[in-house]
C-alpha cells in the first residue's frame, strides 16, 4: 500500500486585511446518534508544527457529531506504522477505527505529514495520504485529513476544510469575515462603519457578493477574494439593491431591486450587466435562491397577503406557492442535493428554522429559538448554519439537517450574524 502524494492547495489568500481579532468559539449543545468510535493517536514529531495536527483532527471529527473520540493515553511507544499497532488493545478500548501518523521537517523548511486510517476490527488499512506543507498550512492540512477520514467512514464528503463567511458588529463597526468552518483562522475582508448584509459565496469560492450601506442605502457589491481588487458595485440603482444569489454556474446573480417600484427580483450577469426583470407583482418579491440544477428560483413573496415561499422557473414565469402553514415563511434555501427546503417560519411569535422534504412536502421544525434567521447549508447538506441570539447578543448556531445535534458559535462582546457557508474547495 503506497502513500499517495498530495500537493496541498494554497489556501485562498485574502489580501485585504490581516487576521481578525476575536475568534469564534464553539459550544456544543446536543449529541448525535450512531457515533463512530475513533482513536486519533498523536503523530510522531508533530510538536515541530505550530499546532497539534491530531488535536485539530479530533476536534473536527467530534464536532461533526458523527464520531466519538476514544481515549488514546497510556500507549508507549505511540505506533506510527501499521506493523506497530496492537489491534487487540484498541479493540478492548472499543475503537472501530484509528488514525496513526508522523510529521517531520524537510530540508527546505517545509514539513511532511503522513497518516494512515485503520480499521481496528479488520486490522487493515482503509487509506492514507502524505502531505507536503508549510507551517502556515497546518490547520488546513488537519482539516483535509479530517475530511478524508469523514468521507471514508461515513461515505459523505467532509466540510472541515471549507470556509464560512459572517458579519460581526461591534458598536458601529461592521466587519465581513471569512473563517475556517471551525471558526478559527478568521480574516477580515471588509470593514465599514455602516451595516453589511447578505454575504453570498460564488460557487467557485473566489468571489463574494454582499450588500453594503456605506452610501447610506443598500447597494450590491461583488468582491474578488483572491485578488486585491477593490470591490465593485454590481447594482446601485435608485432605491434599494439587495438579496444577492448566485446561479450554480457562477455566471449570473439574482438580486432584488426597487428601481421600478416595490422590491422585485432581477437577473444580471456577475458584473451587473444584462439586467432582466424576473418577477412582476405589485407586492414584495425578495430572497431569491437558485436550485442546485439552476432550473428554478425559490423566493419570498407577499403576493398572497402574507410572506410565503414560492418557486418559479429560473428564467421567470408562473410561480408555485410552496408554504401554506402560518403567515410568515421566509428565507428559502435549497439543500445542495436539491431535496430539502430550509426556511424560517414564525410560529407563535417565535422565528424558527424549518426543513421541508421537497418530495413528500413533510415539514420538520429544526430549532426552538426566538429569533433564528439566515439559514445556510453546509456544502455536504449535513449541517445548516443560522443566526440566532443568546441573551440579546447575536451568535451563529449550527444544526444537523436531521435536527438532532446543535452547536453555537459566538464571539465575546460582539454580535455575529448573516452566516454563509462557502463551497467545497476544488482540488
Amino acid at each position: 500500500m503506497s502513500w499517495r502524494t498530495f500537493a496541498p492547495l494554497l489556501a485562498a489568500i485574502l489580501l485585504l486585511a490581516g487576521p481578525a481579532r476575536a475568534q469564534l468559539t464553539i459550544e456544543i449543545i446536543g449529541g448525535g446518534a450512531n457515533q463512530i468510535p475513533i482513536a486519533v493517536l498523536p503523530f510522531a514529531g508533530e510538536s515541530a508544527l505550530p499546532q497539534s495536527i491530531t488535536e485539530i483532527i479530533e476536534q473536527d471529527l467530534s464536532r461533526s457529531a458523527r464520531f466519538r473520540a476514544i481515549f488514546v493515553g497510556g500507549v508507549n511507544p505511540v505506533p506510527t506504522e501499521i506493523a506497530q499497532v496492537d489491534f487487540a488493545e484498541w479493540k478492548s478500548r472499543l475503537a472501530d477505527a484509528m488514525v496513526i501518523g508522523q510529521a517531520q521537517r524537510l530540508p527546505d523548511g517545509k514539513f511532511e505529514v503522513r497518516f494512515r486510517l485503520l480499521d481496528v476490527l479488520k486490522q487493515s488499512q482503509i487509506g492514507g495520504i502524505a502531505f507536503t506543507l508549510t507551517a502556515a498550512q497546518t490547520r488546513l492540512t488537519a482539516h483535509k485529513i479530517a475530511d478524508f477520514i469523514y468521507e471514508k467512514l461515513t461515505g459523505e464528503r467532509g466540510v472541515f476544510s471549507t470556509r464560512v463567511a459572517y458579519v460581526v458588529k461591534q458598536g458601529t463597526r461592521y466587519e465581513l469575515r471569512v473563517a475556517d468552518a471551525d471558526g478559527q483562522n478568521a480574516q477580515s475582508i471588509l470593514i465599514s462603519s455602516e451595516p453589511i448584509m447578505s454575504p453570498a459565496w460564488s460557487p467557485d469560492g473566489a468571489r463574494m457578493a454582499y450588500v453594503s450601506f456605506q452610501n447610506k442605502k443598500p447597494i450590491l457589491f461583488v468582491q474578488n477574494l483572491t485578488a486585491s481588487k477593490q470591490p465593485a458595485p454590481v447594482a446601485n440603482y435608485r432605491g434599494s439593491n439587495s438579496a444577492p444569489a448566485w446561479s450554480p454556474d457562477g455566471k449570473q446573480l439574482a438580486a432584488v431591486l426597487t428601481k421600478d417600484g416595490t422590491s422585485q427580483i432581477y437577473l444580471m450577469s456577475a458584473d451587473g450587466g444584462n439586467l432582466r426583470r424576473l418577477t412582476v407583482s405589485g407586492g414584495i418579491d425578495t430572497e431569491p435562491f437558485f436550485t442546485p440544477d439552476g432550473q428554478s428560483i425559490y423566493f419570498t413573496s407577499d403576493r398572497g397577503g402574507s410572506p410565503q415561499i414560492y418557486r418559479m422557473p429560473a428564467g421567470g414565469g408562473d410561480p408555485v406557492r410552496m408554504t401554506f402553514e402560518g403567515d410568515y415563511n421566509v428565507s428559502p434555501r435549497v439543500s445542495p442535493d436539491g431535496k430539502v427546503l430550509a426556511y424560517i417560519s414564525r410560529v407563535s411569535g417565535r422565528f424558527q428554522l424549518m426543513a421541508m422534504d421537497l418530495e413528500s412536502k413533510q415539514v420538520q421544525t429544526l430549532t426552538d429559538g426566538q429569533r433564528d434567521e439566515s439559514p445556510s447549508f453546509a456544502p455536504n447538506g449535513r449541517i445548516i448554519l443560522y443566526a440566532t441570539d443568546v441573551d440579546n447578543r447575536g451568535v451563529l448556531a449550527a444544526v444537523s439537517s436531521d435536527g438532532r445535534f446543535r452547536q453555537r458559535l459566538g464571539i465575546q462582546a460582539a454580535d455575529v450574524r448573516e452566516p454563509s457557508w462557502g463551497p467545497f474547495l476544488g482540488n
Binding site: 434599494s240 414584495i284 428565507s331 424560517i344
Partner: protein
C-alpha cells in the same frame, strides 16, 4: 392633536408598556434640520390657527407591526412636505424606510422599502415630482432604539423624510 394623543395612548394600552410611552409624532433628531427650510414660528407668536398647522420639522411616519399602510394622522405632515417640494422644485428628498428587528433581514429591507415607497407616493400625490423623492430602505439595520421590546420596536417601524444635505 387629540387624535394623535388618543392613538398614542391606545398603542401604549395595546402593548401594555406604560413605562415607555409611544410617541408616533416624535420629530427626527434636531441635527436633521435643513437650513433654509421654513421653520414654524414659536407657539406664542403664532396666530390661533383655524385649521391644524403642521410644520416641516415633523419628519417621521410610524407603522403597525408587519404593516406599511399610512395612518390618517400623518396626512397633514405628508401634505405639508408634498406642498413644500412642489413649491421648491430644486429640493430633493430621501425617504428611509425602517423596520423593527423581528423577522428576516432581507424581508425587512423589502418591507422598509414598501413603507418608504408609500410615503413617496403620497408626496407625489401632494405635488412633489418622482425625481425629487428617492425611497430607500434601511430594513432593521439602523434601529433608533435598541431594546428588544415593543417600546423600541414601535419607534423603529418608521419612515424618515430627509432633505438633500441631511444624509
Amino acid at each position: 392633536m387629540k387624535k394623535t394623543l388618543f392613538s398614542a395612548l391606545s398603542l401604549a394600552l395595546l402593548y401594555g408598556c406604560a413605562s415607555t410611552p409611544v410617541e408616533p409624532e416624535k420629530p427626527a433628531a434636531p441635527s436633521v434640520q435643513t437650513p433654509g427650510l421654513p421653520v414654524a414660528p414659536p407657539l406664542a407668536a403664532r396666530p390661533v390657527p383655524a385649521a391644524p398647522q403642521v410644520d416641516l420639522s415633523k419628519r417621521s411616519v410610524f407603522y403597525e407591526y408587519d404593516k406599511y399602510d399610512i395612518r390618517d394622522e400623518y396626512r397633514p405632515v405628508l401634505q405639508a412636505h408634498g406642498k413644500y417640494l412642489a413649491e421648491n422644485r430644486g429640493k430633493k428628498m430621501l425617504v428611509q424606510g425602517n423596520c423593527d428587528e423581528r423577522g428576516s433581514r432581507e424581508y425587512n429591507i423589502a418591507l422598509g422599502q414598501r413603507r418608504a415607497e408609500g410615503v413617496k407616493r403620497r408626496l407625489v400625490l401632494m405635488g412633489a415630482t418622482e425625481a425629487q423623492v428617492e425611497p430607500v430602505s434601511l430594513g432593521e439595520e439602523k434601529p433608533r432604539c435598541t431594546e428588544h421590546a415593543e417600546g423600541c420596536w414601535s419607534q423603529n417601524r418608521r419612515s424618515d423624510m430627509l432633505y438633500g444635505g441631511e444624509y
